[in-house]
Point group: C2
Chain length 881, copies 2
């Protein structure tokens, strides 16, 4: 027969720490501590498998469970020398839930079970403490009524308050035994009024409590908690139930209860940290009525207990090899551990503890890397709001957490205003319905960016991440009226100049100014941890950087090259865009070539700057990608101005704009399609790239191997055609220069067809770089700019379990990435393969990419490089586990 009940007592337990799945975290911890010889009250755990059975079989129990529980309880009676329901020497137990994943406070607990009108007297005699006994009884009646019987807890609380009022006291502890005795009677009356009967038989109490705990697994609170925290129900069996002998911290000044961490969970400092409440039970700590003592103070009060506790904590930390969060009770000078688990910690503490523990020889570097979550790195690298100050601020909307960091500033609704105000030293938040390339200056001037539309890969999101600036995008609740220059949401109106705050890590938008805690930067323990990550990881990490400044940041953050330089970003700069526009409105190939010639020296200097900064690390440069209309103005007013600049009539310019109009620009005339219809653009860009590399080598002796990347390839003939043009120009320049320069020509894989025919494309391409943003758009047929119209509903209805622009969709987009990597490398064994989409900086996605052996590197925005380095190492450790 299957074993459902696991006993523990006197240094020996049926279970152990590895049996979390069936014993739950608490049960496994109790068993392990018992085995370690740590003082734990005896008890037993009913397996979570029973919970699964319970829900699979219409809330009934498996055969034999009853007998097993009875047997375990009898053993418990034996080791405790007490007996359930024995009026002379009653055994009291707690009945607690405990699943494999901690869900604090979400499920139910019943304490002091075993008390009834008879046993309460026994307890009184035994402890010689009437007040204690009746206090325990009234607490039990209260808990049992609430949790097991479903009686509104406020009914009990009201009676307690009335009693205190009547007596003119404030604290529960000020009530005497008589008062509590009366309360017991009053509480029993409540049961009756509710038409419920309090079971005097402790065995009935026990089974009803067990029922209630299993039942609590599916209560609304627990279900919601799991949903919010992304805990998948079907990966868990359910909750276990722990039945443990009661110990009492409220038996006088030599008793008490406490919680402690083996190290400081805020700073990571190697020093126990916690608090202790004398003469109290656990729930009193939570109630927060009395201020608990610092752990240090226990030393003078109960030095023996303190020393024992320090020993136990050290033992536990050494045993679990992680910082522990424990609960303990002291009953008449005797220490009992009630729980131990890995302690939650701040980002800063997580990093310090992991690094310290390696130095202490407690864990190895691989384990250290697993101890720090990628979000921890993100947190310490970006400013965060002061939690207390933030708690006071009103949240007016929640958008997508597009770029981490926290910022406060005056709301400003136009990029130009943003630039102007910033020049005057104002801190500002740029607020737009959505941003476009014209807003980049204003974005750079702002502390943070807030938009009401767009997704995780919208323009605002991508650019903000690139700049390392906080951004919240797609806050659809907000009505951003850039004409009236105000935000309207509900009855709140934010006008230009009003302070607002955004939390790019959570997506929250807050009213007013919130104090921020500045970032820590990449140094000390974090730098050390990441250097270990670098030793461990298989995937390379590059950065997406368009300008020398970004490249510098990327190098500082440890990028091993540039995986994506978007050349068009250079053309949006003030001194370039008029030339770019000249090129676009050119009526003849000569006019176009003339305009391109003007752009050439500027672009060459850009590349020289990049190459210089990257000091020989590989640099992948993508040829012009966006549709040309993005470089032209849209509004009538602007058209007039720009037309004048270009020396053509507004009507002429309007005609160009109209001719460039597309119904679905994402599927339109862009990427390599531009270079195929206007090869002269590719020629100019090749000249700039190769020219820059040649000059740099000649003038500064810097070796560069540029990687020229052709975007949006869907058919091998596209790259074949352009490769011909590029090679001709490049080879001629290299030959004429006399410099020994190597370069590669490769392609983005961002169109599904490219993935499907990757074997053909690899015949021509020397490298692949997955543009997973566009690949996600095409594979799902989701426009990143329009997805806000239905994504929220998709997430809510569980049609998608995450935003596929944030974390890669493994089954669809991911399958194409895998397929293309395999086909590509099979066709060309020395093919370099990377990912340069936004997913390249997402830890979950990196975990997936690491499972594709053909993938060589990921590339992400400079500020995410540290995160990616850690994530890549974690992925490698997890994969080889």
């Amino acid at each position: 027969m299957k074993k459902y009940v696991y006993f523990f007592a006197n240094g020996k337990a049926d279970g152990n720490a590895k049996m979390k799945d069936i014993l739950g975290g608490k049960g496994a911890g109790l068993a392990e501590m018992t085995n370690l010889g740590i003082p734990v009250p005896p008890g037993f755990t009913i397996s979570a498998e029973v919970c699964k059975y319970y829900y699979d079989h219409e809330r009934t129990y498996p055969e034999g469970l009853k007998e097993e529980v009875e047997e375990a309880l009898h053993r418990l009676e034996e080791v405790s020398g007490k007996k359930l329901g024995d009026p002379k020497n009653p055994l009291l137990v707690s009945v607690r839930s405990g699943a494999a994943i901690s869900m604090p406070g979400m499920m139910d607990t019943v304490l002091n079970l075993g008390l009834n009108d008879e046993t309460v007297k026994g307890l009184m005699e035994l402890t010689n403490n009437e007040r204690f006994a009746y206090d325990a009884y009234r607490r039990f009646l209260q808990m049992f009524g609430d949790i097991v019987m479903g009686i509104d807890r406020r009914k009990f609380e009201k009676e307690l308050e009335d009693m205190k009022d009547e007596k003119g006291v404030k604290l529960d502890t000020e009530l005497d035994a008589g008062d509590l005795k009366k309360l017991v009677e009053i509480f029993k009356e409540i049961y009756k009024k509710e038409g419920k009967e309090f079971p005097q038989n402790p065995w009935d109490q026990l089974w009803e409590a067990i029922d209630a705990v299993f039942g609590s697994w599916m209560n609304e609170r627990a279900v919601t908690y799991r949903k919010i925290n992304g805990i998948k129900e079907d990966e868990l069996l359910g909750t276990a139930v722990n039945v443990v002998m009661m110990v009492f911290g409220n038996m006088g000044e030599d008793s008490g209860t406490g919680v402690a961490f083996t190290r400081n969970p805020n700073t990571g400092e190697k020093k126990p940290y916690g608090e202790f409440l004398p003469n109290a039970q656990g729930e009193d700590v939570v109630a927060g009525i009395r201020t608990p003592l610092k752990l240090d103070e226990l030393k003078s009060r109960l030095p023996g207990v303190y020393d024992q506790l320090m020993d136990v904590m050290q033992k536990l930390e050494r045993h679990y090899r992680d910082m522990q969060d424990i609960e303990f009770t002291v009953e008449k000078g005797k220490l009992y551990l009630l729980q131990t688990r890995s302690g939650k910690r701040t980002a800063r503490a997580a990093i310090k503890i992991a690094v310290d523990m390696v130095k202490e020889g407690l864990i190895n570097k691989k384990e250290a890397v697993l101890r720090v979550e990628p979000r921890h790195v993100e947190t310490v690298l970006h400013p965060t709001f002061d939690p207390e100050d933030k708690a006071k601020a009103k949240v007016i909307a929640k958008g997508l957490p597009a770029s981490p960091g926290a910022a406060s500033g005056k709301a400003v609704f136009h990029a130009k205003t943003a630039e102007k105000w910033a020049e005057n030293g104002e801190k500002i938040i740029l607020v737009r319905p959505e941003t476009s390339p014209e807003d980049v200056g204003g974005m750079a001037a702002a502390q943070g960016i807030l938009t009401s539309r767009g997704g995780m890969t919208s323009h605002a999101a991508v650019v903000a991440r690139g700049m390392g600036k906080p951004a919240v995008v797609g806050a659809e609740e907000l009505l951003v009226d850039d004409e009236e220059k105000e935000i309207r949401v509900g009855n709140v109106v934010v006008k230009e100049g009003d302070w607002i705050s955004i939390d790019g890590a959570t997506g929250e938008v807050l009213l007013g100014k919130v104090k921020t805690i500045e970032q820590q930067g990449l140094s000390g323990e974090l730098a050390e941890l990441l250097s270990w990550a670098d030793e461990i990881r298989r995937l390379g990490v590059r950065a997406n950087a368009d300008i020398p400044r970004d490249a510098k940041v990327a190098r500082e953050f440890g990028a091993e090259g540039i995986g994506l330089c978007r050349t068009e970003h250079m053309f949006f700069e003030k001194d370039r865009i008029p030339k770019m526009r000249k090129m676009i409105v050119a009526r003849t190939i000569e006019e176009r070539e003339k305009a391109l010639e003007d752009l050439l020296p500027l672009q060459k200097e850009d590349f020289k700057g990049l190459f210089r900064e990257m000091k020989g690390y590989p640099v992948t440069i993508r040829l012009l990608d966006p549709p040309l209309h993005e470089f032209l103005p849209n509004e009538d007013e602007q058209i007039e101005v720009v037309a004048k600049d270009l020396g053509i009539s507004a009507d002429e310019l309007r005609e160009v704009v109209e001719a460039l109009h597309e119904f679905n620009p994402m599927l339109g005339h862009r990427g390599c399609r531009l270079a195929i219809t206007y090869p002269e653009i590719a020629v100019m860009q090749t000249k700039a790239i190769i020219g820059a590399a040649i000059e740099l080598k000649k003038e500064e002796g810097i070796d560069v191997e540029p990687e020229i990347m052709i975007p949006l390839v869907g058919h091998v003939n596209e790259i074949k055609y352009l490769k011909g043009i590029i090679k001709e120009v490049a080879d001629k320049m290299i030959e004429e220069s006399g410099v020994d320069l190597k370069y590669k020509i490769g392609t983005m894989i961002e169109v599904p067809r490219a993935a499907v025919t990757a074997d053909q494309i690899a015949q021509e391409a020397e490298f692949f770089s997955f543009g997973t943003n566009d690949l996600t758009q095409m594979t799902f047929a989701f426009s990143r700019d329009d997805i806000g119209k239905f994504l929220p509903e998709y997430l809510e209805k569980k049609i998608l379990d995450h935003d596929p622009f944030k974390t890669i969709d493994r089954d669809g987009v991911g399958a194409l990435v895998r397929m293309a990597s395999e086909k590509g490398k099979a066709a060309r064994p020395d093919l370099k393969v990377g990912v340069c989409g936004e997913h390249g900086g997402d830890p979950d996605s990196i975990e997936f990419f690491n499972t594709i052996p053909q993938l060589d590197y990921v590339s992400c925005s400079p500020y995410r490089v540290p995160v990616a380095r850690l994530a890549a190492a974690r992925a490698q450790v997890l994969q080889n586990k």
Copy 2:
């Protein structure tokens, strides 16, 4: 050693008809005829493998070729009893090209080779005909000079003309022996002036002529011809060279030359058809100087030859089991066949000949099906222009041949005007930059549709094909100005009311009115042929039809069900669209449900009509697919009107329109995404479908098994969610009705992710229908509406070898179709799988679909059903060959 030269003479040939690849069509025909005992002048063929060697080895010949050719020529001398260069009895030969695929007139021919200053005299003596001999010599000099020496042919022609002028005659034949003798000297002078030497040695002549013929394989004309006709160079070895003893049709009235078909190539009538030019050489027929005789007239002139010719023709047709196109020469009463090949024929003739030959027992049904090309069926089912009348009309542009048929009408630039003019009995062509759903009424009223934008699957193209109306779309050269109501192209202006004509089979746009030949319809031989096709084919053929009228056409054309009913087309009708708009602007779910309730009875009647027409054949109904903004007006003026109708303010309506605006509607809020965000729409449509089926069964006893199709599914959870909603409504209705009704729920596969995860989706879907239009859009990242901006250049630069919206892209989109079919059927063995994209009616695509064994049927517009039936049968025959 490899054999390069194939001899034929006296009823025995080294080669035969099956060796077309190496002997070329002409060489294989000569060998086969020789073997059949048909009189053919003796000669030999130099294999096309030599041509391949020639180009692979810098225009040199393989070892041993020289010896082989010499040996063959000596054998030829032997069988002819003449000798090359023998002044007494000279052998004269022709040297002709001939590749495996006929390229008429594209490569070079030299006749009368072997003549020089000496042999011309021998020929004179032998024939006792000085004029003949010198005429032959001057012809040879002329041809050799032009073709082998590269002397401008006009130089020779000028001298000939001068001579005729000098003599005051008009025809070449009016020149006498003396004149021709002089011409020979003048021609030789031309050689000298050009610095070339005419080789007097016939062996030199021979090798130079062979060089020239092989060289002509790569001349510009031939290369262009192959490009235009889609002949792939690398699938051919090259051209063979035929060296054949000359026979002369110009040796008197008992000589002559002719061409003939074994049946009438225009009508298919079983009666030889051809012409004969007495006393002439082949080139004289081409020159068209004298009018040739009808074949019948040969009977009275040379009855013996006529009878022999009839015999030979019958023999050839029976042997080749196809209508033959022959060339022959009669030399002094003796018949020689110079060529035989399958004859080109009109669509009508192709069908009649194929059917007749089956009845004659000459070929079987499978062969018959291969003899008729799908375009033949298309041609006879649609009106075509009278070729003579069309030749006179000016072509002003060429667009995409979007929907077959030819039409003339007055140009009209707005749908409303089109409807009005049509009511007055005018024939009109609706001309638009592009069409939108609002134009459907005008399209129905027009004879044909012409647009300047859009691709093969643009709105105009799809709707026109559905209506069976001629359409030319994406004629980008035309500037269609619908404000000024005129077309401008070059210096041509077409104003409203001017006649224009469009040829939907070629994409041509012509000025003025062109006479049309009406369609034949589906009857007689075509109906018979298609019934055989039905016996042969594996793929089912359904039609895409939205309304009963279309369904009727579909059934008449032999559709076996409806593969796609687009329910949105119903909502565009005049009486529906206001209700649809009410639904869209609804502010509460109640308002929306009210509007949907109004639509329900209308939609139910639509479905009843369809089901009734389809009499139990399966009907697949797709739930609402397009983005909602398509149902709303865009222009300010219209917004005012519509808002008034809807009882809301123009501003309110404008806000709705703006809120529905998307950057990339193709990737936006449409398809199942609509039904997921507004489940009440799916509920209404389910009620209409199931309600219609129930009522029809109850009232009329018609059995229907509706197939409810969910569009744009990319994730299994989408269909899972909607299936739940649909099933709940449907099952309840069926239960309440007491009727035994079955229905299926399936999905379009049109998003790449659906193809990649087809195994998951098949867990929920009972059928798949590939929406290959959208799948092509997403897989290539090509917007069908915008592709005109670069597709022409892509085709011209050979980046794509066809428009992927017309013919399926096998390597990319096709690979996804195959993958999804395999995965789907593996996961659910009884999955029904079809194709409902426009490719379902394209013969090339059908050939591909037939190679996917999991695919059950294709579905196309009703007018293409006959084409699809034939194409499916041909595909099956070809595949099992």
